[in-house]
């Protein structure tokens, strides 16, 4: 398998598509048409025009799969909150792929997941084989915006497929203000769809999660919740409890996109291990019910959590990426996919440096890198894929040497 990645931030959509596709072909140095294209762009571009522009370069036979991203990261370039577009072209050779697409997310995430999983039931039998799951994270009707949830989608998918495979993925959004977003579904363009891209043959995907958050408190318990809204903590209204805990220095209106709660899936009082933590980010406040609105609905009553703080240095990233490269043994790395929470961009995270640069440096040009800034990240925590916030998911694809 060979992959070429191209990047552009040209504000003119046609030019952006052509530039990115041509750069991807140039970087792969392959003469025959590619077999598959992964493409992500910000919502400043028209999805139809962009698809046409890319197809005009790579041909119309290869499916184009992907959707919105608030930014993009390649080996040597990155950007967010602008006109970024990134394209990865795949020449699969001995590797096979299967693409399944399902709509209806806005109506029922779990049902969509189930349909998608069902379609793959007869095609994916090896739980080790990689699955990429992307879905439209934005449900916007006029001025009303809500998030489409990963948790029910994943549950439905697992139920439909019959098991949970080696899966990573992303809830896609095209900008920071939750504008309507589009998905490229192989042969066309759609909204509120979920896409599952599975690979067969001698391909391997290894992934790590990185969030750089550490617990700042002991454990508290969600005592009442309604879907993704935590209504009570330790028997007190959630908002009041948290306000009291954080004091006047951090007013409640600062909570959205800032307050991170950690769910430890590892040993309760054991040594801190990033892999064991699922980060949960506050999306909004429910002032009426004194609740805290989260991105995902998995903090049900009885969930214990800790308040987390962010690490402002990014030293935790390189060793984790390096661990994947060094663990390959007889396999050859061919492609890296980095799914990064949009909020982790330095402009919004307060990090000293862009984590994109840290990842680029860690990859060091050893494989083509396609990174996106997403709304929700999906990766395994202690072996079980789940929707994550404030997380970077790094996956390394390899084939036998």
């Amino acid at each position: 398998m060979q992959v070429g990645v191209g990047y552009s931030d040209n504000p003119v959509t046609i030019m952006a598509g052509i530039q990115a596709a041509m750069e991807a072909i140039k970087n792969a140095a392959r003469s025959r048409p590619c077999d598959l294209a992964l493409m992500f762009s910000t919502s400043s571009h028209n999805a139809h025009t962009l698809r046409e522009a890319v197809a005009s370069v790579i041909g119309r036979s290869a499916p184009i799969v992907g959707g919105g991203a608030t930014g993009a990261i390649a080996n040597h370039k990155f950007g967010y909150s602008g006109d970024q577009i990134i394209v990865a072209l795949f020449w699969l050779d001995e590797v096979t792929f299967q693409l399944e697409v399902e709509g209806g997310l806005r109506e029922n995430e779990e049902a969509t997941g189930w349909e998608l999983g069902s379609k793959l039931r007869d095609k994916v039998r090896d739980f080790r084989k990689p699955v990429l799951l992307f879905y439209d994270a934005i449900n916007r009707e006029a001025d009303k915006v809500s998030m489409i949830m990963a948790t029910p989608l994943l549950k439905g998918f697992e139920d439909g497929l019959g098991f949970m495979p080696n899966l990573i993925g992303a809830g896609l959004q095209g900008d920071y203000v939750a504008s309507p977003t589009w998905q490229w579904t192989g042969g066309g363009v759609a909204q509120h769809h979920s896409l599952a891209l599975t690979f067969g043959g001698s391909i391997q995907m290894d992934s790590v999660i990185m969030h750089g958050c550490r617990p700042a408190t002991g454990y508290y318990t969600v005592t009442k919740a309604d879907r993704q809204i935590i209504l009570e903590i330790n028997g007190q209204p959630a908002l009041d409890f948290m306000s009291q805990l954080l004091g006047h220095l951090i007013p409640p209106e600062s909570f959205p996109f800032f307050l991170i709660l950690g769910i430890n899936k590892g040993e309760r009082w054991g040594e801190f291990n990033e892999e064991n933590y699922a980060s949960r980010l506050c999306l909004a406040l429910d002032l009426e019910r004194r609740g805290i609105v989260m991105f995902e609905p998995d903090m049900v009553a009885g969930t214990e959590f800790q308040v987390m703080f962010r690490s402002l240095d990014l030293d935790y990233i390189p060793p984790r990426i390096e661990s994947l490269f060094s663990g390959l043994r007889n396999c050859q790395p061919t492609f890296a996919l980095y799914i990064n929470c949009a909020g982790r961009a330095a402009a919004y995270s307060g990090a000293d440096q862009e984590d994109a640069i840290t990842v680029q440096n860690a990859v060091a040009g050893r494989v083509p890198l396609l990174g996106i800034y997403s709304g929700v990240e999906i990766a395994a925590v202690r072996g079980r894929p789940r929707g994550l916030d404030w997380t970077g998911v790094f996956a390394l694809f390899s084939v036998p040497r």
Binding site: D9, P11, V12, S44, G79, S81, G82, D83, Y176, V177, A216, T217, G218, L245, L246, G247, H248, L249, I250, S254, P256, F257, F258, V307, F309, R310, L312, A342, G343, A346, A347, Y348, S349, G350, A351, D352
Partner: protein
């Protein structure tokens, strides 16, 4: 003991446990108390990092612009580049560029981040923006903290509630406004716009202005270079040249001027320009004159390298060169022009000689024709006697008619020739309009009556109206028109009408009056499209009319010339078969009533005078024998004693030998002509009052002038009008 020891141990463990619990609670409290501070550090880090990122993006944007805005980019492409990148770079949602129009309104020119329909609706919309609110040091920043009313029109027009508006200035004039902003305030990704954002946008717009100014200057510089190149090319291609003189030093000479002076290099001239006819003193003088008077021109003789003198025209102008006032002189070679002028002068002289020859020829022809005509008319007159039978009288009448026709033709030709040579001048005498009209009617009555036509004066002119003008020429115009009218009318009538059409003040302050005269007939008429052609010389309705009606075709052309000399216009209206109207206007000065003794008709006066000529002595100086005979017989019939001299020389002898009451002097004679003879007679004091009348076939007005200059008292033209002859004689003989 063991139990008590166990109890002691248990107590110790419990105490330690309680202590440990207290410590955990204590530590937890410390941890929780520090949590706010810990997370506050996070928030502060985010804020700082966010601002840094915005600044980095601003710098990155300007770097992008520097790459994107190439030399030669126009406003449009510059603004497009900016607006395309500004949304992405500064996390803005919408950007618009408003371009200032000449009428002061701002046109929505470029839009980014708008839906297609919004773009269509907004593009080219004109907005009124108070420029006073766009101070360059404090551009507009509108956030959620501002009242909705602030710049409500702009925010509403651009559908942009939160915005930054920065003017882009070129040469202190606002050429555009860069407006960028957000639809919502949604921290942390789209926080409230701050002064930091404003500074970034302000820097971008200042950078854009600087870049555009630079491009403008480059463009102007390029235009200057182009202009210089064009000027140089023009001067290289031009036959003219130029010189630049600066404070006593010749600075520059153009290739054209070098060529004129037959030089090959500028140095040759610049080092020694005075050798070519341009002295320092002269140029200093020209320089002073240019500074005081501005541009001026002179002709100067320059000297070429080969020593040839070249007449040149030098046009001097002030020239600001390197902030110094210099003298620029265009040099035009006049050699070719001078040659042409000389050729023209020669041609003019030749033309004048030819014109003189023509005049002489006309005069000669006039003389040669009139002389025999005089004989014919005179002899016919002598033959006439009451004893002749009717047939003989009819023959004589026909001879007289033919004679008159011939005379009219000759007069027309001569008169028209005189007019076209602009030699004719109008007389200015006092006359009564009613009398002039009556005379014209009376004169044309016989031919009209002969054709059975009524000739009517529609309304007599006022009897007390005295005018100053040329009654002879007025009557001549009317006679031409009436002659034509009678000629081309077979039945019905010919009417003459006179209408006063206006009075005014003349240049001399004397009152002026303009009349319209109209001659209407019931004749054959003419097609309307022929109206203007009728007044052309040698033109008649068609050739057939000349054959049928005779005439030279000069009558109306003469009438037109005369009318125009009288400050009027002539026109003709007609329809074939429905008659015609010839009308003209003429302007006269109003005169005070005077005693017009001449109101008495020449006919009456001639008859009366003829009785008084008995015994009068006249010297007739005439070389032509037939004319001698005619004149002698006419004069003797009136009882005058006639002595004949064949030429001027003999006349001199005769006047000295005997006494005469009057001399009738021909002009063109052998031995000594009449002019010379008159001068010599007049040179003797005893003949100072002797009346001498020219009686000559020289009928041009110049000839009349010459006669008076030689000292004659009158000028009678041949063929002799018998009545006029006796009236004139009567004036001088009776006076004596």
């Amino acid at each position: 003991m063991t139990n008590s020891n166990n109890e002691i141990n248990d107590c110790t463990e419990l105490a330690e446990l309680a202590e440990l619990r207290q410590e955990v609670v204590y530590l937890r409290r410390i941890c929780e108390n520090s949590l706010g501070r810990l997370l506050l550090a996070d928030t502060q880090g985010i804020a700082i990092r966010h601002e840094l990122e915005q600044k980095r993006r601003g710098m990155s944007l300007m770097a992008d612009l520097a790459m994107a805005l190439r030399p030669g980019s126009d406003y449009e492409s510059a603004f497009t580049s900016v607006s395309r990148r500004i949304n992405a770079a500064l996390s803005m949602q919408r950007t618009a560029v408003l371009v200032r129009e000449p009428d002061g309104l701002f046109r929505v020119s470029i839009l980014q981040g708008y839906e297609a329909q919004e773009q269509a609706d907004l593009t080219d919309k004109r907005l009124l923006i108070d420029e006073a609110s766009l101070h360059p040091q404090s551009p507009i920043l509108i956030t959620g903290a501002d009242p909705d009313s602030r710049m409500a029109d702009l925010r509403q027009a651009l559908a942009l509630p939160y915005l930054i508006a920065c003017p882009v200035r070129l040469h202190d004039k606002i050429v555009a406004i860069l407006v960028t902003g957000r639809l919502i305030e949604s921290p942390p990704f789209l926080p409230r716009l701050t002064s930091s954002d404003l500074e970034t946008v302000q820097t971008v717009s200042a950078y854009l202005a600087a870049m555009l100014t630079g491009q403008l200057l480059e463009k102007e510089e390029a235009q200057k270079r182009d202009l210089e190149e064009i000027m140089q090319t023009v001067f290289r291609a031009s036959l003219d040249g130029y010189l630049v003189w600066d404070s006593g030093r010749m600075e520059r000479i153009s290739p054209g001027a070098l060529k004129l002076l037959e030089l090959e290099s500028s140095e040759e001239f610049l080092e020694n320009y005075s050798a070519y006819g341009l002295t320092e003193a002269h140029l200093n003088g020209a320089y002073r004159r240019v500074l005081t008077e501005g541009r001026f021109r002179e002709e100067l003789l320059l000297r070429t390298k080969s020593g040839q003198l070249a007449p040149c025209e030098l046009t001097y102008l002030p020239l600001n060169l390197r902030h110094t006032s210099c003298l620029l002189s265009y040099v035009r070679d006049l050699r070719e022009q001078k040659k042409n002028e000389e050729a023209l002068l020669l041609a003019k002289e030749q033309a004048e000689v030819a014109a003189k020859a023509k005049s002489a020829f006309l005069a000669n022809m006039s003389h040669e024709i009139r002389t025999p005509m005089n004989a014919i008319a005179g002899l016919a007159h002598l033959i006439y006697d009451d004893n002749l039978n009717q047939i003989q009288k009819d023959y004589l009448a026909q001879i007289e008619d033919s004679f008159k026709s011939l005379l009219r033709i000759v007069n027309d030709v001569l008169e028209y020739s005189t007019m076209t040579a602009r030699k004719m001048t109008l007389e200015t005498t006092v006359f009564r309009l009613d009398e002039a009209l009556a005379a014209v009617i009376r004169g044309n009555q016989p031919p009209a009556a002969a054709k059975g036509l009524r000739l009517i004066l529609a309304e007599p002119a006022p009897a007390d109206l005295y005018l100053t003008g040329d009654p002879v020429r007025l009557k001549q115009i009317l006679n031409i028109l009436l002659d034509n009218a009678v000629k081309f009318t077979y039945k019905g009538e010919v009417t003459v009408a006179v209408t006063e059409v206006g009075r005014s003040q003349g240049a001399s302050g004397q009152g002026q009056v303009t009349f319209q005269f109209a001659v209407t007939d019931t004749g054959i008429g003419f097609p309307p499209e022929e109206a203007t052609k009728l007044f052309s010389a040698f033109s008649q309705q068609d050739n057939s009319s000349t054959r049928i009606f005779g005439g030279t075709g000069l009558g109306l052309a003469i009438a037109k010339e005369l009318v125009e000399m009288m400050g009027g216009e002539i026109r003709a209206q007609g329809q074939p078969g429905q008659g015609s109207v010839f009308s003209f206007t003429a302007r006269f000065l109003l005169a005070r009533p005077v005693d017009l003794d001449k109101g008495q008709t020449l006919q009456a006066k001639a008859s009366e005078l003829r009785e008084n000529f008995q015994g009068a002595r006249i010297l007739l100086v005439e070389d032509n024998k037939v004319n001698q005979l005619v004149a002698r017989k006419l004069l003797e019939k009136a009882g005058i004693v006639v002595t004949i001299a064949d030429n001027g020389l003999k006349a001199l002898e005769k006047v000295k030998a005997q006494e005469f009451d009057l001399v009738l002097m021909d002009i063109q004679m052998p031995e000594m002509d009449g002019l010379e003879a008159t001068r010599q007679i007049r040179s003797q004091a005893e003949f100072a009052t002797l009346p001498i009348l020219a009686m000559t076939a020289h009928a041009l007005s110049d000839d009349r002038e010459l006669s008076f200059k030689a000292g004659m008292n009158g000028h009678l033209t041949k063929p002799i009008n018998v009545k006029e002859l006796f009236v004139t004689l009567g004036e001088w003989i009776s006076a004596k």
